[in-house]
Symmetry: C2
Subunit: 219 residues, 2 copies
């Protein structure tokens, strides 16, 4: 492949890393908003999601251009296809940040002073943010081991979701007047879980690309 | 492009339609299982999901082979990239059918004779099944109008989810001893909603491919 191709491919790598950083920023803002029911922060997440959407479109067009112009094969081809799919997962992580922002906005209307129950998602949040960052590091550094470690972290995220479920369900029994608030608090765990799933998809895509082997379905 | 390329591309079209039919079958089994809490049917969905996973892998490999061997450009290139992404959405619809099957299995343990409340998802189920079928018809027939109509149907699905939420929340207030059952009943609406989202993604991909224009983000 020509030098020019590799230069442009490098640009695509930079673009996907920048998108990743932007997505991670929105996840951080959305999850920071949970703790303090910060509606301003939640609104900002909703308003800036279009930037993520636009970058996704640009990256895909860039990948299509590279495929059409240089007709890469073997590893270069697999890399570009992997980027197209990973790009898609990042955009959907952005959507989950918006979903969390929605929950915060709904909860802010319903959270009453009488409702003392709160599930602390901070550990879960740190875990999924780490998974996003590491899955993208694994992509650009072609690091299979790191990708595998991301996949392994997913179970811990799922476990916290189960803890949240039990704790919130218990709280529902005792305060049935706070059901809307508690259902929204519970749904946040599912949005975070989905972010972990998308990061796992990214990591699996990296492994698949490098090993030319499908691990996606637990094989 | 050579005759041989178009023959092989036709094979890929047949494969993706067959995958679509298989996914739809699992959605049907999973949703039929809800009504009667049919654990046998739910277990079958979980057991047959690997077939969907395997076909997804085969289709992607076939697409990569076509890209590497024939180095298509323009519409043929866009079509193959669209198939790779749609393939991924179909596999994830299969995962949602498994999620519904899990709900049914959990509910079957918890559904007590005293719990008379039941939300009828049949309309929502019919809608999402129709969306899957039409989105794939739109792909193979390059039918933009049909794809647009699929996107428009998504709102009706979201509305039913909201109805389910209100109704089930009301029921939670009156029967707090049935919380697990009711939460699972509610989560089914979210799995169905996600199936509708994936069908919408497929339809948007078709429009994007044909019109070379990004409608994915409501532009």
């Amino acid at each position: 492949m020509s030098k020019r191709f590799h230069k442009e491919l490098n640009e695509v790598k930079k673009m996907i890393l920048a998108l990743g950083a932007n997505v991670e920023k929105n996840v951080r803002m959305a999850t920071d908003a949970i703790v303090s029911c910060n509606t301003e922060l939640a609104t900002k997440v909703k308003k800036t999601d279009y930037e993520i959407d636009e970058t996704e479109v640009e990256i895909e067009e860039e990948c299509l251009k590279l495929l059409a112009l240089y007709q890469p094969v073997a590893m270069d081809l697999r890399f570009i296809i992997a980027v197209i799919k990973i790009n898609n997962d990042l955009e959907r992580i952005g959507d989950q940040a918006v979903n969390i922002a929605h929950r915060v906005l709904t909860m802010s209307k319903e959270r009453m002073s009488s409702c003392t129950y709160y599930f602390d998602y901070s550990v879960m949040v740190e875990k999924v943010k780490m998974m996003i960052r590491q899955s993208l590091d694994a992509l650009v550094n072609m690091d299979v081991e790191l990708a595998i470690s991301v996949c392994q972290q997913d179970e811990a995220v799922d476990n916290i979701k189960r803890e949240a479920y039990s704790a919130i369900k218990k709280s529902m029994k005792n305060s049935s007047d706070q059901l809307s608030y508690l259902i929204n608090l519970f749904l946040i765990s599912r949005h975070l879980e989905r972010i972990g799933d998308h990061a796992t998809n990214i990591a699996e895509e990296v492994i698949h690309m490098i090993e030319g082997e499908i691990v996606r379905h637990g094989k």
